[in-house]
């Protein structure tokens, strides 16, 4: 079993352990693309918040390729894929109570998104 040594600690605490991968995975979306977040309710881990499921957003930025938490949490493989920063308007998420000029930008994995 690997053991954490004192020498490893500064790097671990300051940099963490990156989930970024250098796999050559094609990007399905590019900045400006309209998406809709999938509606799903897995009983297992996901990083797709309930409040964006089924909502329309716009790809703001492509962060590159990362480990997919949903499968990694189950030890079912890293399934490397693009993570995008996605813009959702407050009106789209909260209805008329959302401020017209507000938006939320959240990082979402490729598997969470469909083309709108």
């Amino acid at each position: 079993m690997p053991v954490l040594t004192a020498a490893m600690v500064p790097l671990l605490v300051t940099k963490g352990r990156s989930a970024r991968r250098d796999d050559a995975v094609p990007a399905r979306f590019k900045p400006g693309d309209q998406i809709v977040a999938k509606v799903m309710s897995p009983l297992t881990h996901t990083r797709l918040p309930r409040y964006v499921r089924g909502r329309r957003g716009v790809i703001e930025r492509d962060h590159g390729v990362f480990v997919f938490p949903d499968t990694n949490a189950l030890f079912a493989g890293p399934h490397p894929q693009h993570v995008y920063n996605v813009r959702f308007s407050a009106r789209e998420l909260w209805g008329p109570e959302g401020a017209a000029t507000d938006a939320i930008y959240i990082d979402l994995w490729d598997s969470y998104l469909d083309r709108a």
């Binding site: 954490l4 352990r17 881990h45 996901t46 309930r50 990694n72 949490a73 189950l74 030890f75 909260w94």
Partner: protein, 104 residues
């Protein structure tokens, strides 16, 4: 999972408290629990995503009422048992022994 952790968009929790000169840890034991989690994670029995999944499976009442690092203690206990670092019986034996030592 559609658990208590997924709180985005919920109302009624009051304002966010902003502490001036907020310390990294509010109590020394919190630092020890943070370190223990890092050291246990380095054993390679689980990964960060699994650890988050374990946190999501907390009892919802505990999730909302316990402090942040108190929740980490319960998660580490649950992971230690699930991944064979110790048994629930060993944990309880140690807890009993420590409580007895504290009293004497």
């Amino acid at each position: 999972m559609n658990g208590i952790h997924d709180m985005g968009g919920m109302d009624g929790f009051g304002p966010i408290e902003r502490e001036a000169d907020e310390p990294v840890f509010h109590e020394p034991w919190e630092g020890r629990i943070f370190a223990l989690n890092m050291a246990a994670g380095a054993l390679g029995k689980w990964n960060l995503d699994r650890a988050r999944y374990m946190r999501e499976q907390s009892d919802p009442v505990e999730y909302l009422t316990l402090g942040y690092y108190e929740g980490w203690v319960l998660r580490l206990e649950a992971m230690g048992v699930e991944f064979g670092l110790f048994t629930r019986e060993e944990l309880e034996r140690k807890r009993t022994a420590l409580a007895a030592a504290e009293k004497s």
